[in-house]
Assembly symmetry: D2
Homo-oligomer: 509 residues x 4
């Protein structure tokens, strides 16, 4: 998962301008190895998602002031290996406990371990991965290992690594190169250490954001000769792959797991329904009952936010640009307004559009005292935070992730996470959601690795609907849910295979 | 709308077996002009939808025992015309009032009248229509008239005509041929009277179920030379068109308005959310609070039923065959079970699957006393009602549309509408939903009639998304809803045209 | 139940002015035996509730034009008895079926029959009753009979009798004197026939509205010497009893069952939550989604209406006079407004206040076209309907219980049930709610009849909380609900008796 | 607020056994001045609420390891005063900011400052207070000061003081004696320092738990000669006062603000609706969707928990001992079960009963792996946590307030806050709720201080309903809520004063 993916508002499926620009930048910068000196000019050289700040919950035990760079440390795990680079190998035990807790809520991966273990479907696979390094990722990596794969792993975000988990993985023998608070130089160095190894060459890529893929692309293009496929998780990374494909430069099959139904519904509707409440509560301890809220955008994310707040007794207004989504908002019981109509009266403004400058300085000027402003949409462009960095306004950091921006007349706006994604910055993503993503990734890797010659060409593929359905079915036991099977007669009547797929591709769910 | 469309459960997008069979039957029988004598053998000769019984509300004033066939009556409207055939022209005034009430809730059509009237976009259009004849259809017809079209109209269902409305249309000069309780011979006679006219030949077809289209196809194939296109409303009719197209026999462009987003969401989710309550209440006066309900199928219809009943305090269980929909049910707070697990304990069983024999005799045998059984899905196959027609069970008609089926031990099952669609039989479809459908039909007619040569070929087309969005936008004023417009900068950022379409075709809403 | 009780808004517990006036009128008029000639002057001589129109569902089979007064007919039941007066004894079979259906949803009374039958706790009781005569009342009467009582019964409302049910009761031997459409003279004649019988004198009174009680009070005061107590059901009747008590004129104990917790919650919150939807749907077939609604009054009735409409996707505003209820509305997610603020924009206005002139002509003048206006509160005073009976406005009856009031500029207001109670006029009360009321009445009768000398004095009593709890417990099996029992240790810890009562009297539930 | 009040389940209004015992203990121990040596024997000498652990959020900045007791420190505020004892006066600035934030959400107190300031209704009042010391309390204290009162303050709980806030109060001149982590000796020392002052004697008491009152009672009984009244906030303290009153030992009027309507509804229903989600999320990061939950007790707290979890997509079961509450649960859509019926299948167990041993070791043995167990009810007795402290079970502290209890077969139960109140331990109480409490306290102080001789006797009084309504009305502007005023005509019709009170005391809201 990348900061921002899974959270798009109503127009996320188009190629946003910033992606195009970013991608252009990316290409220019890619060949330069970033150095500390070159930092400023390189600030666009890793994807935006790689530098977004991440959950405040992203560390459990770090109170030490150990300033030594992990790159300068000599560490060994208990088996004597030093093929890793983490913050502190001694934190392994704490991390192991977190992994064990995560395993409890990732039954699908555990089931996959059991079902597929006999035949080791990933025997021979050498997977290089670049994702957030969390307890849930650890469960994925250990599942891949149990299925026969060898793995090397780096972080896709310089802030998101849980050091304890990285230590636990290193301790149990995974070559992990990641820590919280990497510099950009560190970032690329870690990726390079995963790829550029004596006597080991990856044949599968699991990427989240596309940085790993591009590093190999630019530095070690010959590696692709042995690579069987790429599995990509994020909006940004998927977009990069489509660009490569269009340009005729994609030289292996790639699987877009971002757009699978299950992932989309869980990352957006179901997850945001809970995380909007959590994020607001943890940062402000506010009461929802009776509050007036405007939600900008009624895509899946907006739908989730609106449903949750309505259920808690808030009065919710919606803004939309798309008449169909607008009509849905009406039928779901929300007043559809322009932001200007309600901006003076609302207690909370939430953006979920995927658009830019949805909340402008003019809006901010008109908000009432104590209005809370936050972003649940894509990237950090929705609120024009830059416009608040002017001399007449005072910023006051009142808590972690909470700023008061103070007008000359004393009016305060409560800005959360500086306009970055509230749910990633100020709440946590439930393991169950990550389980769905991780299971999807594992299945995509198995599919690509085992696919007979010719099934996949040098193109970007969506996960087959049958696999989407399989991911869903692996998660049903969590709820003690019992699926009904079609009888032969019914299957014939409906013209369906009894094992699915049960819907055409355009079904809307 | 056809009885049954708009209500499919999770697998409605596949071609059901019965359609294939029906279509085959249809072809065999089509050339025969049905006669009263041949009734039995022709019982399959009009589409199932044409003979389904319709809402109990389908008459306002008929208490007379006038048994004379309208075909045998001599009637004239106040302007002296007798180019129509309705039950009783004297009922026109009552019908006119119903039309005026309907106009209040169909602002989109009224807006269309205003916006397009200046240029008369249907000037020269000669439209032959075959739909349910209700107050809402009347508003559509009079809108088409106001836009310049000439119309002739028959009913697509032998029971659904509102005689008073038909009278009002005849009185104001529309050649309408329809009454409630037509025989099958009457049915085809009426259609023929619309088409087979001295000195008038249709150039557009508006069909609901496909019977009109096929009548012309078989009897007057040469007419297609002048016909510019077909607009088809129903699942069944659309399926027939795709069959024709596949067989290379479709000789004009056709527009499938059934699958437009707006129509789908309103016909299914939003409409069923209300009509399940209405249908149950009107037939049984039951209280929803605390009742245990099992809903079979968690497609759009099932989602609507579940949401409504949960909100009223029922405890709802769901059955599903599709793991993705099943997972949605879980996340929405419903226990996913097999029907057998709960059949002994539930107070109400509701089918919304589009499947057949979902509720079998075995299930019915195990239900508890007073259990209510009804169908909100497609067609009348979901509950195996036939299995209840056995000597040991006693049927008792306790109210209109309500039967008690009594077991030898005294147990009673309350069967609603004999297993046919509850919402069409026992409640009414809100005018607002019909407004969306009617507006879609009007726009499709305008598009096909005005399309430049070559835009549409001899194929079946979906309504362009932009038109879907336009239909939605025409309905927003009803809710005093204010759409936000993209700025130029935002449109560029998102890569969108400011006027839409705003989403790719695969967007799920 | 009386038309109007159970539906009070936030200030129903005070003595409304109209009651005081009515009661004064009542006393003046009581000694006059109404005659047909004196009708007009006597129009206030029976309680308002006795003349309110009742549900449109109040007849099943009456299509005959039999204009003969039942008082002029000679009828016998199959056993030869003619000690009854009903519309048509031949309708008994239909009525019996309705009674049997009602029995299915009144398990508490059926359980009472079983539990108490052995000892016949009402053996020797001679009960004279005056209530609505419906299938549910019939189940109550037959339960009282099964428990040993003899009963004679009249109707408490001149419109609400179901003739078929009355016939069924007469057929099975109950002396019933009631039909739909009684004149006022008939009304008192029927009551008198129940009381004034050779060789039979009542010792218990079950009243709904207080008319029976007052008839005995004025005409046969000596009867009270043998009467053990009065059970009174309605707000009005209870008020009359308190007045008598205050005046020192109450000469037997009386039980106020109107204010029992269970009855209050079910008659108001739970029942109105469903009946508001049902009443609106049956009269207007409107769609709730997206509609703007203002609900005046946030007492139990208002809470029920608001919750239901919000769940169906309406946008709901609330008006209140009481700041505590107002704050509850806020916390439940409703904008608290003054009626004037939203009157121009709402689609529906619903009154639930118990107050008068809440909706004034001025408000009605400002409503938008097609606005629906209805009353769910107490009595028919909330909407100033009288102000609409002016020459410049046209009334048009469009359906039963639905009037269009048309302004000179063409604007139409849709007025339901002429401002009388929507839920009694346009929907039905679920049997389950009536079951709770009837069970409470039966228990109150048993208690008063069996109470040892001295337990009750010549005063008005509330039902003991323990009985409220018993009524509730008798209804739990309907929901297959399993109550937890306190352990001895827990009961001691909480200072409670294991069998209840579990709460102090002031507990708010 | 005391740990546990505001959260009672269905039987909270009775006097629980433990209170009686505690009170007995209290009396025995009260005369002994606790010493550090005597700690163990004194463990019952302050009320349970005083030693309960408090929110994990109860500190903002304390990372220092300053182990010096505040009693041993020499501190002065910037004005040179040293009449206070807090952790660190230098934290004042941070605390001031927190107070300012709290002021934003306590508009009622701010309004009170404005409205009453002119006349200084508390001029001459010398208030000694003993409550939790939080930002919200600070707003209350500074309001009392603005109204003319002098205040001295101690903490009612040894853990709940926010040191920064205490510092800010001390800095602005309030004699505050409190810090987080007081010993019991410290606890009484602080209280004594508030009371036992040269040249200053309190004439009003504001207490939360009754410890302050009892200290004065035992040590300085003569003080009561000048004391005009006591305002008591907590269940426990109120109970103590009633005991004193019964025993004829209460020598001043006391106001029970715990049972005011507004406080009850907010502390229980509305607050718990939000805090159950917050508490579960912060401790476990779990997803609510699809989870099976059993809630024990359907009082106000249980109702809040159930509503919130249902809204988030959980499947909720309820247990109850009271048939009326049970029937409410049914009508609200929850299966009513005995705990045993569902204990094997649920994912979460929540107690809200006010009872003891609701969840026993036997239940815990049967729970499934990973089941979460927590308590939202009164005190810490509901879950039999003691039964889990046996050798065969392993306890593992996985996070703050989260223990895994591990069975020999590896099964883990997730126990939150060791069975203490989840909402106080693991979430925060919204300022708005505290605002209602604090406003109620302020009004009660004003009332008692200004009441004419004879209005209040030496007894315990409930807050007059009119004041409850006034508290509510002061909070309406927060929601921009507009109350409707009765016309003269309406007030007369309803028999009400236009300014309230609007309801009789027994109204249930």
């Amino acid at each position: 998962m990348e900061n921002g993916d899974g959270n798009e508002g109503t127009s996320a499926f188009h190629v946003p301008e910033w992606m195009q620009i970013q991608f252009a930048d990316q290409k220019q910068e890619f060949n330069k190895r970033p150095t500390k000196i070159g930092r400023r000019s390189l600030s666009r050289s890793i994807s935006q998602s790689s530098t977004d700040s991440y959950s405040s919950a992203a560390s459990y035990t770090d109170s030490s002031d150990d300033e030594t760079s992990p790159r300068d440390k000599q560490q060994k795990n208990s088996k004597g290996s030093s093929d890793f680079c983490v913050k502190n190998i001694k934190q392994a035990e704490f991390g192991r406990r977190e992994i064990e807790i995560a395993e409890q809520e990732m039954p699908a991966l555990m089931a996959l371990r059991k079902r597929a273990q006999g035949e080791k479907p990933l025997a021979g696979a050498k997977i290089v991965g670049c994702t957030h390094i969390t307890a849930q990722t650890a469960v994925l990596m250990e599942t891949l290992g149990a299925l026969g794969a060898q793995c090397r792993w780096a972080a896709c975000n310089i802030y998101s690594t849980l050091n304890e988990v990285a230590a636990a993985l290193a301790e149990s023998g995974f070559p992990v190169f990641a820590w919280k608070g990497e510099s950009e130089d560190d970032f690329w160095w870690c990726i390079d250490r995963c790829v550029n190894v004596e006597g080991w060459q990856p044949n599968m890529i699991l990427d989240d954001g596309g940085d790993l893929t591009h590093w190999i692309y630019k530095k070690y293009p010959n590696m692709f000769k042995k690579i069987k496929g790429i599995v990509e998780e994020s909006v940004t990374g998927v977009h990069r792959l489509y660009q490569l494909s269009k340009a005729g430069k994609l030289c292996v099959p790639a699987m877009n797991v971002n757009d699978s139904v299950t992932k989309q519904k869980f990352d957006n509707l179901y997850c945001c329904r809970e995380s909007i409440l959590d994020g607001l509560k943890r940062t402000t301890d506010m009461m929802f009952g009776g509050k007036q809220v405007v939600v900008c955008g009624y895509g899946e994310v907006g739908k989730g936010c609106c449903a949750a707040l309505k259920a808690m007794g808030s009065i919710v207004y919606v803004t939309e640009i798309d008449p169909i989504c607008a009509l849905q908002a009406c039928m779901d019981g929300f007043r559809l307004v322009k932001l200007n109509e309600v901006i003076r009266q609302v207690d909370i403004v939430i953006t979920c559009t995927g658009n830019k400058n949805v909340v402008t300085r003019e809006h901010l000027d008109r908000m009432k005292n104590s209005c809370i402003v936050c972003n649940m949409g894509h990237s950090n462009t929705e609120i024009d935070v830059a416009s608040l960095r002017t001399p007449e306004l005072t910023w006051e950091r009142v808590r972690s992730q909470v700023d008061h921006v103070i007008w000359p007349d004393g009016k305060r706006i409560v800005l959360l996470a500086e306009g970055r994604l509230l749910n990633l910055s100020c709440s946590t993503v439930p393991t169950f959601v990550l389980s769905i993503t991780a299971t999807t990734q594992a299945l995509a890797l198995i599919e690509l690795y085992n696919a007979p010659e010719g099934r996949y060409k040098q193109d970007v593929y969506l996960l087959p609907k049958k696999m989407d359905e399989y991911v869903a079915s692996l998660h049903l036991p969590t709820f003690d849910a019992h699926l009904t099977e079609l009888t032969d007669e019914q299957a014939k009547y409906l013209g369906l295979n009894k094992n699915g797929p049960f819907k055409p591709n355009y079904y809307r769910y």
